[in-house]
Each structure stands twice: as C-alpha cells, then as structure tokens.
Amino acid sequence: MTGSSYLELLRLTAPEIIVALAGFLLLVLDLTFLRQAALAIRFRTAMVAACIGCVLALVVLESGSAQGSLAAGMLVVNSLTQLIQMALLVLAILVLLWVGGARFTTHVGEYCALILFATTAMMLLVSTQNLLVIFITIEFLSLSLYILTGFDKDSQQSAEAALKYFLFGGMSAGILLFGMSLLYGISGSIALQPIAAAVNASPGDPMLTLAMVMVLVGFGFKIAAAPFHMWAPEVYQGAPTGSAALVASSSKVASFFALFLVFSLGLMGAAGSAAWGHYSPGWAPLIAILAAVSMLWGNLAAIAQTSVRRVLAYSAIGHAGYMLIALVAHSRESLTALVYYVFTYALATVGAFGVLSALEGEKVDSIADFAGLGKRAPGLSFCLLIFLLSLAGIPPLAGFAGKFYVFVAALEISDHFGLLWLVLLALVMSVVSFYYYLKILKQAYVSEPVPGAAAISVPVATRLALWATAALVVILGCLPDILLNRISAAVATAFQ
C-alpha cells in the first residue's frame, strides 16, 4: 500500500463523513436536548437536522472536484460515483421528509440516525472497487436496514419482516463472502482490476464458476431478484413506511451499481453471451435467466396481490429484472441506461411510498381502501398517478425514458439482436404491469369512495415534497437529457 496522505482520504470521503457526523449529532441532539419534547417536535427537528446534513453533503459533492483513487481501489471517487452519491442523498432527503410525519416510535434520534448511517454505507458502497470493502459496506447497509425494518415495536408484521430479512440476509451474506473468498483464491487479490486479469487468464475455471454463482446469489438477494426475493414482500409490507421507502429506493441504486461494477469490471473475461443462437457460457446467460425469472415472477405475482405495498414489492422484483437486462448487455451505454433507470425508478418508488406515508393515518393499505381517493385527496392521487404511470413506463414520464434506453442499449450491442428475446419478454411483462398499476388507479379515480369516507388532509410540507418529486419525474421524462448527459459523461470519464 502506497502511503497516501490522510488528508487525501478525508478529502475524498468528505461527503460520507458529513452524513455520518450528521447522524451522530442528531443522535446527541435527540438524546440530550429533546428528551422531553413532544414527539412531533422531535421528529421534525430530527428530520430538519438530517436533511441539513444531507444537503451539506450534496453541496460538497456538487462543488468539490475531489476525485481520485486510494489504496488500490479501496476508495474510488470519480464523477460517476459522485453522481450516484448525489442521487442517494436526494433519495435520503425524500425519505426523511416522509419520516417527518411519522409517529410510530419514540426512538426518533436512533431512527433518523440509522437512516443516515445506511446512506453513508451506500455512499461508501458505490465508491469502492475492492471486494472486502464491498462486503463490509453491504453488511453495514444490511444491518442498518434490518433494524430499520423492525423499528415499529407495536407491529408484529414489522418484527416478522425484520427477522425474515435478517435471516435471509445473513445467509446470503455468508454465501457472498464465500464466493468472494473463492475469487481471492483464484486471483490472489481482493481488488477488482487484478481479479479481472486473473479471470481473463483462465475463464473456464470451475472454481471461478462456483465463485460467480455464489457472488450472484449474494447480490441477487440484495437487489430482490427472483428467486432470491422471498424477503421483499414481507419487508415492503411490514416495515415502517420510511424504512420500506429506503429499502425500495436507495438500496436498489447502490446495490445495482455495485453489482454492475463487480461483474463487468471484475469478471469481464468470464462474461459469456446470452444472445439467442449465440450462447456461450459465462455469467451473462446466468443473469439473463435471473432477469427473465424476475420479470415473469414479479409481474405475474403482482396481479394477484390485494395490498398496495405487496404490489409495489412484486413490481420491484419485476423492475429488478428489467435492470438486470442492462447488466446482461454490459456495455458503457447499458451502464448509463442502468444508472438512469434505477434512479428514476427509485424516485418514482420513493414518491409512491411518500403517498403511502401520507395515507398512513387513514389505515389505507389494501387496494380496495383506495376507492375514491381521487375525490378524497385529489392532489395526492394525482401524484400517485404520476408515480405509478412512471413505473409502468408510460411516456412522457421518466420511467419510459429509462426503459427505452435500457432496451436500446441491450439491442445495440450486437448486429444479430441477440438479446431481443429478453427485450420482447420485458415488453410483454410491461403490458402485464400496466394492468396492475391501472387497477390501483382505477380504484382511486373510477370507483366511488366508501360512504362516510371523509376528505384526507395532507400536511403542507409533505404535499410540497410530493409535488416536487412528481414534477421531477415528469421533467426527467420530458427532458431526459438533463440527467442522461451527465451520466454518460461521468461513465465516459470513469471508464477511460
């Protein structure tokens, strides 16, 4: 390890430090000064403090040009990682805004601090190209998320979800670690670049295959791809809304990016091809199958659900499938597409959970409860419309641009349209997904409200935040260039 200045390290990790510090400060603030204050004030203060921290970190990211690589890939900061970190921070801010209206726990400081810690973990996850650091940050993230999931002590569902999450997570973490150790054994290094060299030298090694499968299983759990998705429906339904929102949005962003890096950087040589008629063994066909199964299972299972959160969970599985297509294509274009897709998807999901959090007081969970929402809370319903249609992939919303780009990237990689089968499957499944999203919207707009149901009032701050998110989804859909250009420039510089 070459000696690098500690100052350098601090400079490069400044945003993470800011967020972590904010978490600590928040904890101190809540445990010391606000012990006696009302719950509402505590939540709001925590929210504001946390947001300030995130905003500060954003400012640092946006302005500073601190970039570099430390300790042989343990810390890699370039424009792409900075962009993703900014996205993570935006999502964290939104989640915190939804949390600001929650009242389900008295441990306010701990809750918000955990959110910030989870965010720090994610920020670190995306800025590394070292297996061990990846594992550590994933564990850091997972532990925070387990606790966040089980935070509602009054809800049995929450505890059950947390336990399930933990058990699955622990098991998959073990598998992931085992796979990583195998990779170390093959290559003698834990950094992605040397691993890539070793893989290129002996792509057909059976131990390599085993290692790939295990790493894939570990990550598959994280991104909730079928058949490793069993935890997702329970967590989405049982966890407190803020936690679920975080799981559904930011952790997806970070995990997918890490997955892409590991496989396309580290295991490039053993990629193989999933093209129709041009099959060659490697991880690409494996991921293609994973993608296909996720799309099928997620979308088809979502049709039968009666709880909105479970619909969102299964649709998340389906979306994971679409995103995996970008990984199968493993090109620069597809990375740009993936980042764009996962970010817009996360935005729409966080928005949907925001609507759910605003409705928490009304005991609205099953689809039937949404009846007549269009009359009871017109603004809220309209935002929900935007978010769900973006998830369905209707132009001119952001989800469509993302899907379009992913499909273009997938088909562009070869002349013979090898991945056409995946794209066609994705399109068919999109039609299916449109059905269940429309079911929810139908309840909201077409069905009459239950007699006696009153209008729902939403706090101003939440409403503003929701409108802002919806506006962002629309703008990113109508003018995708804003983000696309930045991402593609970042990808270009990152992989020169």
């Binding site: 740009t336 249609l389 209707i394 132009p395 001119p396 469509f400 641009a401 379009f404 780009y405 499909f407 273009v408 088909l411 562009e412 349209f417 056409l420 794209v423 066609l424 399109l427 068919v428 999109s430 039609v431 449109f434 059905y435 429309l438 139908k442 707009y445 077409v446 003018l479 995708p480 260039d481 696309l484 250009n485 593609s488």
Partner: protein, 503 residues
C-alpha cells in the same frame, strides 16, 4: 402554427380544471372554444398548404441529444387531413357531450388531453415523439370510458387499454430494433424512410410493427376490444375512439410500418398456407374483417354493438386499401380514414346521444316499439343520412373512399374486390336493419303510449350539421382531400414503398 393545436388542447385541459366546479357551463364553453381553436388552425393550415406534397416542418429541435432524438413536428398532406379530422371530431364530440352532468370538469379535461395527444401523433415526424404521443392517448381513453361509460365499462376500458398497450409494445420493439439497425442516431422519418434497412430485417420488423398498430386499427382477429369498448364508452368517447383513435392505428400502419419497412411486403419466395407475402396475409385479414364485422353486426341485438362492429368492417376497408399497394388504393385508404371518422362520429352521436340518452335502451327489439321517427324527426333524418353515408352511397364521402379502395383492389387482388362488394351488401343489410328497427318501426305500434321525449337540443343539432356537412362536402367535392393525399403519396418519403411491390 399547427403545433398550437397540441399546445392549446393541453392548455385548454388545464384551463378546464381551473374553472369553478359550481358552473359546469364554463367548463363546457372553455372546452368548446379550445376545440374550435384547434379546428380553426387546422382549416387555415390546409387552406395555406401547398399541394406539392412537400413536408412542412413546424418545429425541429434536438430533444434527447444523447440518443439523437428530436422534437420534430411536421405535416404533409396526409397529416393535415387527419389533423382536420381530429378537429372536426373534437368539436362534434364536445357538442354532443353538452349534457354530461357528472364530474364535468374532469371529463372535458381528459377529453382535451386526449385530443392534444392525438394531434401530437399526427404531427410527429420523429418516431420516438410519435410513440410518446401514442402512449399518452391511452390514459385519458381509459378514464373516459371507465368513469363515464355505460354497461360493462370497467371491463371494456381495461380490455381496450391492455390491447392498445400490447400493440404498442410490439411497436416499441420495432422502433428500438429500427433505431439499432439504422445506426444513424436518429429517429426522424426523413432519415429512416430513406435508410436501406436490410431485407431480412424488414421481413420481420414489418409484420411486428404493422400488427402492433393494426391492433388499434381493429384488424381481425385483434379487433375484439373494439365492439365492447365502443358500446361501453360514453358518446363523445365512442365518437373519438371509432372516429379518430382507430385511425391512429391505421396511420401508424401507413406512416411507420409501410413507409419505413416496405421491403417487408415483398414476396417471400415460398408459400405458406397459400400465402406468398405479408401483403397477401394482411389483405386477407382485412377482407375477413370487412365480412366478419358486417356479418356480426347483422345479428346484433344491441344497437351500439351494431355500430361498433360496423367500425371494424369499415376499418377493414382502410387496411385493404393499404395492402393494395397502388396509389389509388392507398389514397382510398386515407380517404376512408377521414370519411369513416366523420361517419362513425355521426352514427355514435345519433345512437348514443340522441337515442340512448332519451330512451335508455339500446335493444333493437325494444326500440322498434317506440315511434322514434315521429318523436325525434331530426334524429331520424340524421340517422338516415348517416346510414346513406355509411353504406357508401354516392354523394357522401364514404363512396369516394370505397370507390378508390375497390379500384385499387381490382388491380391487385381482383377476387378480393368482388368479396369486398359482398361486404358492402352485408353492410347495407345491417345498416338498414338498424334503421328500420330504430326509426321506422314504431309506426306500427300506435297502441304503445307515446312518451314525450326531450327535444333535440341546439348543441346536438350543431354537431350533427357539422358532421353531415363534412361528409356531404367531401362526397361531392373530393378534390379537396385528393389534392392533398396524392402529391404526398408521390413524395420522396414514400419512395421506397413505390419502388417495392407497388403495382
């Protein structure tokens, strides 16, 4: 200036949502003014358009530069005609929805969004932009039917939307494939229409995109959404659905599938089940649609279903005209798009607004017991004239359209022209049956008590006159449209098509 048809419609939708909920008249008037503005712009544009077949570029700016997609609005003769149709149908639809009392603002707002998106499809000259507008059409369509429709509306709306979405999924696959193959970093029609796509690529891309659009055009056997959808939809929505939205599908077939992938229509070199090319396959499917739609309409008991199936039959003529692959057949197809848009609007207006809103029944047997011919003579005369137009009687626009399709068909598939003639005869039969039952029946049942019917209101009369005038003017003065269609078919955009299996 034509782009303002789109923008005004969307702005109008916003304006309508802002009108006070207590006085629905304001919402109605706002909507009507918006639609009239759109129609006015369309008429002015047509009058100023030169007849040389050139494309008039309206807006062209880079949009998603990363992918080379442009916000490109342009119009040639065919687009102008369809924009005019949309304008007429929009105004007529609003006039016929004057009596809606429930959630008035929402209705007109959704209606205007739909109109704006339809204008957008017809004016787009970039494939991505066309697709965006095409998809935007779906959402207001769903809600218009699901909220304000009649029996079975939720099921009908979902079926309709899922079929459309499925079709558009196929189209999207084709678009992406074309984009990747062309490798030009552009989705503009001008670029893609001249790009020589490899023949084997066109062989599968063409049917995929054609079928994707043809689903919305009601091609047999993907037409099953149409009768249920039309019957369940409220009057204005049916008028728009049958009148304009189905034409989106046909327009897509022509503008995208045929213009960009004309090699796909070439003979395969081998025969499967007696077919030797996609041209023959789709021509036969169109012909089946003509006969099937007419025959099923003949046995329907529900009046609106009769009209719904008649739409399927008439759209069959459009598709048959497209597949004749000669100038007069294609011209007939475009003419039929316009003509049927007006006529379907008329028929649904009479059946839905004038008859159903007053009698609350659509059953032919029950209707034949009410002497409607005497109670609402205006409706009777309108329906007679609409029927005459629908069966293709000379003097109305339908005749000019069917004439051209038949001539084109004689040239390409002579035996199909004869069968299409049979289709026309069946069409006459079911139209007559509907007319008899609805308006000419009650004269025998003088024993039935004659309930007083609300008279035909002024908006209804205006709407009916607008549509009747359109179909009669274009029946007697076809040059008005032909001067726009023919030069466009001769333009450079369709060059590849003309060089192919053109006869």
């Amino acid at each position: 200036m034509l782009a303002w048809t789109i923008y005004l419609s969307f702005l109008g939708a916003v304006a309508v949502t802002l009108t006070p909920a207590k006085s629905p008249v304001v919402a109605r008037v706002t909507a009507l003014l918006t639609a009239l503005a759109g129609l006015g712009i369309a008429i002015v544009a047509i009058m100023h358009a030169d007849r040389s077949g050139q494309v008039i570029t309206i807006v062209r700016t880079p949009w998603i530069s990363h992918l080379g997609i442009e916000y490109h609005l342009a119009a040639d003769g065919i687009s102008l005609i369809l924009v005019l149709l949309t304008g007429i149908a929009a105004v007529a639809g609003i006039l016929f929805s004057w009596n809606i009392e429930r959630r008035v603002k929402d209705f007109f707002a959704l209606y205007l969004v739909l109109i704006g998106a339809v204008y957008g499809v017809f004016l787009s000259f970039d494939l991505f932009l066309l697709f965006v507008f095409y998809e935007i059409v779906m959402i207001p369509k769903y809600f218009l039917i699901a909220i304000w429709g009649s029996t079975g509306r939720e099921y009908a709306a979902m079926k309709l939307v899922l079929y459309s979405f499925g079709g558009s999924a196929l189209v999207l696959a084709g678009i992406i494939a074309a984009y990747c193959v062309a490798g030009q970093r552009s989705l503009s029609f001008e670029v893609l229409a001249h790009f020589p796509f490899p023949a084997h690529f066109q062989m599968w891309a063409f049917p995929m995109v054609f079928v994707g659009f043809a689903v919305l055009a009601g091609m047999w056997p993907f037409h099953t959404w149409a009768p249920t959808g039309h019957a369940a939809a409220p009057t204005a929505a049916s008028m728009l659905l049958a009148g304009v939205v189905m034409k989106l599908g046909a327009y897509g077939c022509l503008r995208v599938a045929m213009m960009l992938f004309p090699r796909g229509l070439d003979p395969w070199g081998f025969r499967v089940l007696g077919f030797g090319s996609w041209q023959q396959v789709f021509a036969v499917l169109a012909l089946i649609g003509i006969i099937y739609g007419a025959t099923i309409a003949l046995v329907q008991k529900d009046l609106k279903f009769v009209i719904g199936y008649s739409s399927v039959s008439h759209m069959g003529f459009v598709l048959l005209g497209l597949m004749t692959l000669n100038q007069i057949g294609l011209s007939g197809a475009v003419y039929q798009m316009f003509s049927h848009g007006i006529i379907a609007g008329l028929l649904f207006a009479v059946v839905g607004r004038m008859v159903y809103d007053r009698t609350h029944t659509r059953d032919l047997h029950e209707l034949s017991r009410i002497p409607l011919g005497r109670l609402i003579p205006f409706a009777a005369v309108t329906f007679v004239l609409a029927s005459m137009a629908s069966i293709g009687l000379p003097g109305f626009s339908g005749f000019v359209a069917e004439l051209q399709v038949l001539i084109g068909s004689w040239r390409s598939f002579p035996w199909m022209a004869c069968i299409a003639g049979v289709g026309i005869l069946i069409g006459i039969a079911f139209t007559w049956r509907a007319l008899q039952a609805t308006f000419l029946g009650g004269a025998d049942a003088t024993a039935a008590p004659q309930q007083a019917m609300p008279p035909i209101t002024l908006p209804e009369r205006l709407g009916a006159c607008l549509l009747l005038a359109s179909t009669i003017v274009l029946g007697l003065y076809p040059r008005f449209l032909l001067d726009l269609i023919l030069p466009t078919l001769n333009s450079s955009l369709f060059e590849q098509l003309r060089r192919g299996a053109w006869r």
